[in-house]
């Protein structure tokens, strides 16, 4: 998915038309994915889009009904053992043993990976993830953030070529989330390919080189975060003091943003989507102020995931 390097790029994950149904539910219906070696790819999509099923297929936990995939250079169906030797997985379903201590968990996984010196490797990872102090407590007593860090450490016991992170920060507080983000950036710097799923556009934006938007079990759109944001634009919103000022503000906003504004007479706000990169917060304020609009608040925020999917659906309808 890195553009302009098509001839030389090797893919750590390459899937072709993967499909998986559970009875009547078609969780994944034709997933095509290409993740360049050493890159971070974000699978972004709402709950139920099929992200988790996709990861479970790519990590040998589920067998696909149709399609094929290669992970770390090996065929998923024919060489599952070779794939397992080269991947790490962290997700809500792939967890450590809560009845063992952090140290015991990491030593167990190091042993199962046939590492020489499992104790040393466990201590290294405990130190790297700030878990040395809690190392001898059962993992079930850890906080959510510590538990997630231990899960991540457990996936890294044998340095994986491809790391799968399924919603790595869901349910974490901002401080714990930032620690996971820092860890993922560190792994990328070391050359690990990372495929992560997330419901948060911000997370994909922060971590991913490429984003694949997943909807109804398919990749609906791919691109870099910048390309995606350019496509979707930002949302400008102005709050005024009274109803009288609303129409004036709407006029200016329509001109600047270049799209039809939406008025909310109850909240006294007017908002509009803009894909024009020259629309900045200072410019908005200047133009509204110059027109004599009495402003209470102005914001220019990145679109939410809902906006993204709404816009993509609109574009499809327009094209159809």
């Amino acid at each position: 998915m890195r553009y302009g390097r098509r001839m030389t790029t090797t893919y750590a994950v390459l899937s072709d038309g993967l499909e998986k149904s559970f009875g009547e539910v078609h969780a994944v219906r034709g997933l095509d994915l290409a993740v360049a070696e050493g890159s971070v790819c974000g699978l972004l999509g709402p709950n139920g889009a099929g992200k988790t099923t996709a990861v479970r297929l790519l990590t040998t936990l589920l067998r696909s009904d149709a399609g094929s995939a290669r992970v770390a250079g090996h065929d998923l169906v024919r060489e599952p053992a070779a794939v397992r030797r080269r991947i790490g997985v962290t997700g809500q379903y792939a967890s450590v043993d809560g009845d063992l201590t952090g140290r015991e968990n990491l030593r167990l996984f190091a042993r199962l990976h046939r590492l020489k010196g499992p104790a040393v490797r466990a201590d290294d990872l405990l130190d790297r993830f700030g878990l040395t102090e809690a190392a001898d407590r059962p993992a079930s007593t850890y906080s959510g953030g510590m538990r997630r860090r231990l899960d991540l450490a457990a996936s890294l016991v044998k340095r994986p070529e491809v790391l799968f992170l399924d919603e790595p920060t869901t349910g974490l507080d901002p401080a714990a989330r930032n620690q996971i983000w820092a860890a993922v950036r560190g792994l990328k710097d070391e050359g690990t390919t990372v495929l992560l799923t997330t419901q948060y556009l911000e997370e994909a934006d922060q971590l991913a080189d490429d984003i694949a938007l997943v909807e109804h079990g398919r990749v609906a759109h791919t691109g870099s975060p910048a390309q995606l944001k350019a496509l979707i634009g930002s949302y400008a919103e102005v709050m005024v003091a009274d109803t009288g000022a609303l129409l004036g503000a709407a006029g200016i906003l329509a001109q600047v943003a270049g799209s039809t504004p939406v008025l909310d007479r109850h909240r006294l706000t007017v908002g509009a989507v803009t894909t024009d990169p020259t629309v900045t917060l200072p410019r908005l304020v200047r133009e509204l102020d110059a027109a004599g609009v009495a402003l209470l608040d102005v914001s220019l925020r990145p679109p939410t995931l809902d906006d993204v999917f709404l816009r993509l659906t609109e574009r499809k309808e327009l094209a159809a």
Partner: protein, 276 residues
């Protein structure tokens, strides 16, 4: 397992077996470590049969008269077997917990022997069961039970008991891997305490109505309990009844082999394939 399936050469079979031994040992030590962190659970499960021995032995024992026998001496082998049958419950509970707390899935993503994970659980269970037999036998001795045959036959009784436990654990592991939730596994597992009630573990089956007696005597627990009483020298083998009870040692071995041959591959396959 996958290496075995794809390349059935002698070298890969040796590799698969040594991988099974190595990974199985790692999983065995994992389960034993868990118990060390949770000794309360161990004490609770071990004290249950002792409580039942005292309760049944003195409460029922005062009302039950078994010709030519002391009820408590009759009860001790029965309780040993009933406790071994709990392998279904503990196996199911452990496998369900690992499945629904994500441990199984993490293990499935590792490049380890596919049979090692359930095997490690079954072997750890065997170690715990063997250790748990000692206090029950000591209390049995205190309430009047004795080894009345040869030491060799008594050892055979313990071996048979552990084999039966190994067999029931595989039933439990398979059911636990199939379970929809930990709660469902807990409820179903709890219901298995009924199984020894429909056998000769606690009471002789001679007095049961015809069809119920047939059902009880074909219960594997009856065969193993009769074999234990015979090997410990507590009671003679009954002259009439269902085949496994009249030939208790052969019957018990046959039952164990059947259960293991059916449930071990089912459990390993279910573990390896997950939800599919």
């Amino acid at each position: 397992m996958s290496t075995l399936a794809s390349r059935p050469s002698k070298a890969s079979a040796t590799t698969a077996i040594s991988a099974l031994a190595y990974d199985g040992t790692a999983m065995l030590s994992r389960h034993l470590r868990r118990l060390r962190h949770n000794p309360g659970l161990l004490i609770l499960t071990q004290s249950m049969p002792i409580t039942m021995l005292l309760f049944f032995g003195y409460v029922f024992g005062s009302a039950l008269a078994i010709p030519g026998e002391d009820y408590r001496a009759f009860l001790v082998p029965g309780l040993l077997v009933a406790t071994a049958a709990n392998g279904i419950m503990t196996g199911m509970f452990q496998a369900a917990q690992d499945t629904h707390r994500g441990v199984m899935d993490r293990l499935r993503t590792l490049p380890i022997s596919r049979a090692a994970v359930p095997l490690g659980q079954a072997l750890a269970d065997l170690v715990v069961t063997a250790a748990g037999t000692v206090p029950l036998l000591l209390v049995g001795l205190a309430v009047g039970w004795r080894i009345e045959g040869s030491a060799l036959r008594a050892l055979g009784a313990v071996g048979l008991l552990l084999l039966f436990r190994f067999a029931t654990t595989w039933i439990g592991i398979y059911l636990g891997l199939l379970s929809r939730s930990e709660e469902a596994a807990g409820q179903l597992g709890g219901a298995t305490f009924l199984l020894p009630l429909l056998s000769n573990a606690y009471i002789p089956t001679d007095g049961l109505p015809g069809w119920l007696r047939i059902l009880a005597e074909w219960n594997p627990i009856s065969a193993v309990a009769t074999a234990m009483r015979s090997l410990f020298g507590n009671a003679p083998v009954p002259g009439d009844g269902a085949w496994p009870v009249v030939h208790p040692v052969a019957g018990s071995l046959a039952w164990c082999v059947v259960l293991i041959v059916v449930f071990l591959p089912l459990a390993v396959r279910r573990y390896a394939e997950g939800e599919g």
